[in-house]
């Protein structure tokens, strides 16, 4: 990932969030408080504005700026969680990373950031369920000697698989946890936005 790709990725996320805003809010109204789409849209609109005149020399600078903007504009749990993740990923990418191994290490730092704040584990019906599978896929591709594009596509596929796997789960973290067994049968909104983020990367890479 170079600086241009980081920018393209973030713009692609903003476009995806814009397109799927109502769907995210719909999922959140089933098991949360019906604001995930609105909050993510507010955050990524702020980022689009913040990045317009922002001069970045590294992919990491773009992603750290993205994280900082999310923290200062989203609110809720997703602001700190996504914001912290993008900041951690960015800090690990202070040079262009073309090797999937480097990218995997950056994603691992992001996951550690999310888990440190949110204390969720795989199976709790959260964004972690999509993120952890995406990270595992990038690692697997790296071990197999695949290139960055193949790793990004594998990550997007895996994140969507993780997203779908949240449907039968019972939530144990966040507002959905108060539903207990009634949270089962609904796809998690956080896992859904995480899948959008990884799909946006795959599309940004493939479009080059």
């Amino acid at each position: 990932m170079d600086t241009d790709l980081a920018r393209t990725w973030v713009q692609a996320i903003a476009a995806a969030v814009e397109k799927h805003k109502d769907h995210l809010t719909q999922l959140d109204s089933a098991i949360g408080d019906a604001d995930h789409g609105v909050n993510m849209h507010r955050g990524f609109s702020a980022i689009t504005a913040a990045l317009t005149d922002y001069k970045a020399d590294t992919p990491g600078a773009v992603l750290v700026k993205t994280g900082t903007t999310l923290i200062s504009s989203v609110g809720g749990a997703s602001g700190p969680l996504y914001g912290g993740a993008f900041r951690a990923i960015g800090k690990a990418l202070d040079t262009p990373a073309t090797d999937p191994r480097q990218f995997a290490a950056a994603l691992a730092a992001g996951l550690a950031g999310i888990q440190k704040l949110g204390a969720a584990a795989p199976g709790d019906k959260t964004m972690i369920d999509a993120y952890a599978l995406a990270l595992a896929a990038v690692r697997q591709q790296a071990d197999a000697g695949a290139d960055f594009a193949a790793a990004a596509v594998a990550a997007a596929d895996a994140a969507e698989e993780g997203m779908r796997a949240t449907t039968p789960m019972q939530a144990r973290k966040g507002r959905a946890s108060y539903l207990g067994a009634r949270s089962m049968g609904h796809q998690d909104p956080g896992a859904t936005s995480t899948a959008l983020i990884f799909r946006a990367l795959a599309e940004a890479v493939v479009a080059r």
């Binding site: 809010t25 408080d33 604001d35 923290i71 609110g75 969680l81 704040l117 144990r172 108060y178």
Partner: protein, 332 residues
């Protein structure tokens, strides 16, 4: 959706402008979204800051003023505020004696206040945090985000606020705030769901003849959904849940809040308070002080929450101390 608004996305900014116009004694920072007492932080006084999603008014902005909060940080409706708001508030009201964050236990609030505390520490402001988690409707707190913060927030803000006004240090104010939370239990029942301006639709479906027992202040589901019953029986259910969690003995003194969730007529709150007073008197429990009214609301939800705090003499003394805020005012 029928609401007195101009546009859903403008509700918070316009409400803040309204608060500024109605309460010239307060300072409303529209850019950072901070409501504070006018003037700089006072030397020797710990500053109290709270905040959370909007839609629970008068919480928190209505409790800013002498004897209670120094600043409040309102987020978007039902969305926690962002760290920058609390940082701006901390820097503006800290008089050098430190800041106490009063945080209701919701994942978003906890995370954003935690980040704000780190930023404030980096800026040289001492911060301690107290989590309010009084809602006994959440039974399985190991496998959920834990008990929710509701009505006890008013007690914590008032009692800790009075102690801070007397010049107690940060550790003492934080300790008292935690003690008040630990002594308080709440339970709520909803008759209708609330509608956020952003979604435009009720947060859940509740048939005409049913009630959500143990509801949260954002419409989170409670323990059960039941057929509507007389007020006396609803109060018995709420009191049973509260007293099962914190048994009280004959002669114990309490502060009781019967709180409307936004769309409950005051006359019904008094019917409920009558039932609470009768039931507690039967058990020999003393209601030393009370509040009946709308203090921690949930937009337009018809519902009521009951909060019982087992209060010692210290707490009662601090409760009685003067307070002068838009929503709580006595002894001045």
């Amino acid at each position: 959706m029928k609401k007195f608004i101009n546009a859903p996305e403008a509700v918070l900014a316009e409400a803040l402008a309204g608060i500024a116009a109605a309460h010239p004694e307060l300072k409303v920072d529209g850019e950072n979204k901070v409501i504070s007492r006018g003037g700089a932080g006072r030397s020797g006084k710990v500053a109290l800051i709270s905040g959370g999603g909007s839609g629970h008014e008068p919480l928190h902005g209505g409790f800013v003023g002498p004897g209670m909060l120094d600043a409040a940080c309102p987020g978007e409706v039902f969305t926690s505020p962002v760290p920058g708001q609390m940082l701006a508030a901390a820097q503006s009201v800290d008089g050098g004696s430190g800041v106490l964050f009063i945080v209701k236990n919701y994942t978003g609030d906890v995370l954003n206040f935690q980040m704000a505390a780190e930023l404030a520490a980096e800026a040289g402001v001492s911060v301690q945090t107290v989590l309010v988690d009084d809602d006994v409707a959440v039974q399985d707190s190991t496998w959920t985000a834990g008990r929710r913060g509701t009505g006890a927030t008013v007690l914590v803000e008032k009692i800790a606020g009075a102690l801070a006004e007397q010049g107690a240090d940060l550790a003492a104010v934080a300790e008292t705030a935690k003690r008040v939370n630990a002594a308080s239990r709440s339970f709520a029942v909803a008759l209708t769901a609330c509608t956020t301006p952003g979604s435009g639709k009720p947060g859940f479906d509740l048939p005409e003849d049913e009630m959500e027992v143990g509801v949260g202040i954002h419409g989170e589901p409670g323990r059960s959904r039941e057929k509507l019953r007389p007020a006396k029986e609803i109060v018995a259910t709420a009191l049973d849940a509260i007293l099962a969690d914190q048994p009280l003995a004959v002669g114990d003194e309490t502060i009781v809040i019967v709180n409307g969730l936004g769309a409950t007529p005051l006359i019904e709150l008094y019917v409920v308070f009558h039932e609470v007073a009768t039931a507690l008197a039967d058990k020999g429990i003393v209601i030393a002080r009370n509040l009946v009214g709308n203090y921690v609301t949930s937009l337009d939800m018809a519902g009521v929450s009951l909060t019982v705090c087992k209060a010692d003499a210290d707490m009662l003394g601090l409760w009685d101390a003067p307070v002068n805020t838009p929503a709580l005012r006595w002894g001045n």
